[in-house]
């Protein structure tokens, strides 16, 4: 194996003798690995962030939504069916349920100081108890003002206060929704999602009188479980009760609602992120593959340029395997250098994003570089290097010594 060390020396020297070309080839791999590492670390960070938020939701809350869990996102996005009064009662009657909070929302035009803007209004019932639940279990806090008491008082999200109107909406200010005047009682601190922060919250009765929405009573329900009650058992109980009620009314066996525990929510989010990661790996792999083609290209050129040299080496006793080794090592070195470079750059970016997030708490994000990513990136870039180097190296090894020697560049 002493020869291998010498082959490494020869390979390094060969790479050095075409320094610019070697670095450009390495750069191709660096970009690919950088893409993989930075995108994966960001998506891994996204996963961590989402999991943290789900954990803050805690085991005490369960969501009930109309529509089956398969198309849960379409029913969230486009409304779809609603939970009726008797559905809400069914949920309340399920064992383990402490309180049910119905919630509806829709978009409308809001006027503030002569300016009209599109925003979302959301109503929930019961209003007073709901606010208590949200402040205790969901961590809703006010940045300004106080919790609303009267029916013409509303709560606004942080984005409504700062972003939507050109003038900042202050606590105590007056906004107009569909010709009716409301007093802004309090302004919420950021709830962690842009959608939630862009909403105006009010009593469900007021909401329904504004929207004329009498058919359904809630777009979805948040369920507070009894202290210490297992969330999965409670979810099953809710499913059972709700199933009976809806079957009686709609007459189908189909589950047209979904009960989502924090665990299930995590699963759904995990699935989506999994798809995102696969897509990312796919695209970044293409980038590395292109880098690999770069290596192959550079190596083929090198074999052509060094044909005579290969002939000389064979004449003085180099076996085909020696030539193969030297060229494979060259390609492998390019791959590994690219891998390490991309890893470093990717780590720097991930750390920078993480650092920025620490300085700006509103930028709710963390980045994670997991050990498997490092292993993956290095192994991938090395194997792409070797694979890309294999065919040129094979070509070099196969050259007939006398023909190679005759070649004049």
């Amino acid at each position: 194996m002493g020869e291998i060390k010498e082959y490494f020396k020869i390979a390094f020297r060969n790479l050095r003798s075409r320094l610019l070309r070697s670095w450009l080839t390495v750069l191709g791999i660096i970009i690919g690995v950088f893409l993989i590492i930075s995108l994966l670390s960001l998506s891994e960070g996204l996963k961590t962030t989402i999991n943290q938020q789900l954990q803050s939701l805690g085991g005490e809350m369960v969501m009930v939504m109309p529509g089956s869990s398969e198309d849960i996102f379409s029913s969230l996005m486009f409304g779809g069916s609603k939970l009726e009064r008797e559905d809400m009662d069914a949920i309340s009657n399920a064992e383990g349920v402490d309180e049910v909070l119905g919630f509806s929302y829709s978009g409308t035009i809001i006027r503030y100081e002569g300016e009209s803007k599109q925003a979302a209004i959301g109503g929930f019932s019961p209003w007073k108890e709901g606010l208590d639940i949200l402040s205790v279990f969901q961590g809703w806090t006010l940045s300004d003002g106080k919790w609303p008491v009267r029916s013409n008082e509303v709560l606004i999200g942080s984005q409504v206060a700062n972003k939507i109107f050109s003038k900042e909406v202050k606590a105590g200010g007056e906004i107009t929704i569909k010709g009716r005047k409301f007093k802004v009682a309090g302004i919420l601190n950021s709830l962690g999602s842009q959608q939630d922060d862009s909403m105006i919250y009010m009593d469900m009765e007021v909401y329904q009188s504004l929207t004329g929405d009498k058919r359904g009573t809630a777009s979805y329900a948040m369920v507070l479980l009894q202290d210490g009650f297992d969330e999965n058992t409670a979810a099953e109980n809710i499913e059972e009760k709700l199933g009976e009620t809806r079957k009686r009314r709609v007459g189908t066996e189909e589950d047209d609602f979904s009960v989502i525990t924090s665990e299930k929510m995590g699963e759904i989010a995990g699935n989506i992120l999994g798809i995102i990661q696969i897509v990312i790996i796919g695209f970044a792999s293409i980038a590395i593959l292109v880098g690999g083609i770069g290596i192959a290209n550079s190596m083929f050129t090198s074999v052509r340029e060094r044909t005579r040299e290969i002939g000389i080496m064979k004449a003085i006793g180099a076996k085909n395997s020696a030539i193969l080794w030297i060229f494979m090592i060259e390609a492998g070195i390019i791959g590994v250098l690219g891998g390490v470079g991309g890893l470093l750059l990717g780590t720097v970016l991930a750390e920078a994003v993480g650092y920025y997030a620490k300085l700006n708490p509103s930028f709710y994000f963390t980045t994670t570089i997991a050990p498997w990513m490092i292993v993956f990136a290095l192994a991938f870039s090395f194997s792409v290097g070797c694979l890309a180097g294999f065919f040129p190296a094979k070509q070099a090894a196969k050259l007939k010594p006398v023909e190679a020697l005759r070649r004049h560049e």
């Binding site: 002493g2 020869e3 010498e6 020297r13 060969n14 050095r16 003798s17 005579r308 040299e309 002939g311 000389i312 080496m313 064979k314 004449a315 003085i316 006793g317 180099a318 076996k319 085909n320 395997s321 020696a322 007939k400 010594p401 006398v402 020697l405």
Partner: protein, 236 residues
């Protein structure tokens, strides 16, 4: 004494498009160990083709070549590489040094392929280069050396693995006559001192004067094969 190189009716045919070119047409030859043989002939006579086959760089289209009693035409590529590395040393007209290696590294390269230790390689390489008057040039790359110096590095490389046969293809072809003379003296010295078999191909009668045996080739066939007294004077 068994011949170190034995050729039996060796032929080499090249296919040039539709035309078949017979470069070597049935050459039989025996070279004894320790001989200094010159193969001479005009350009295109097939002498380099013959030399390449003797050096196992090329395989004949017909006939047999024995090196130390073994039929090389039946060997695999790996066996041939092994044989070239251990038994044969090459000296080329264009020196054929590896440009990005130093003089010492060029000389030690054949020893790497034979798996010799780093210590042994460095010692032997430095020894050979000093004996050829290149002690101060061992760290220089070929581009920093004169033609004569380059050919001396190539000679050192040819002798690196202590081969039994050294083959030289127009070794002075790219050198002026004074340098060429010196190179031939170096080769003669090695031959006299270490008793190596040396086969030189040339079209230059002055070179032929150094050898003990002269083989004349024309149109791929031996026209004259005779022993001559070795001359040590370069005729101008």
């Amino acid at each position: 004494m068994d011949p170190v190189i034995k050729l039996e009716d060796v032929r080499k045919t090249y296919q040039l498009g539709k035309v078949e070119l017979e470069a070597v047409r049935g050459i039989s030859l025996e070279i004894n160990p320790g001989a200094f043989v010159t193969i001479m002939g005009p350009s295109g006579s097939g002498k380099s083709t013959l030399l390449n086959m003797i050096g196992c760089l090329d395989v004949p289209s017909g006939g047999k070549i024995f090196l130390k009693g073994k039929d090389v035409t039946k060997m695999t590529e790996t066996q041939l590489a092994q044989l070239r590395g251990r038994t044969i040393g090459f000296i080329f007209q264009e020196f054929n040094l590896i440009p990005n290696l130093t003089a010492l590294e060029n000389v030690t390269l054949p020893m790497i392929f034979q798996g010799k230790s780093e210590e042994e390689r460095k010692r032997r390489g430095a020894e050979l280069l000093s004996s050829l008057g290149l002690k101060d040039r061992i760290k220089h790359q070929p581009a920093e050396l004169s033609g004569g110096e380059r050919q001396r590095v190539a000679i050192a490389r040819a002798f690196a693995n202590d081969p039994e046969v050294v083959i030289a293809d127009e070794p002075t072809g790219n050198l002026d006559s004074t340098t060429g003379k010196k190179i031939m003296e170096v080769l003669t010295n090695f031959h006299n001192k270490e008793g190596k078999t040396i086969v030189v191909v040339t079209h230059d009668p002055n070179i032929a004067g150094y050898s003990e045996e002269l083989v004349n080739i024309k149109d791929g066939q031996i026209v004259k094969n005779h022993v001559q007294a070795q001359k040590s004077v370069w005729e101008k």
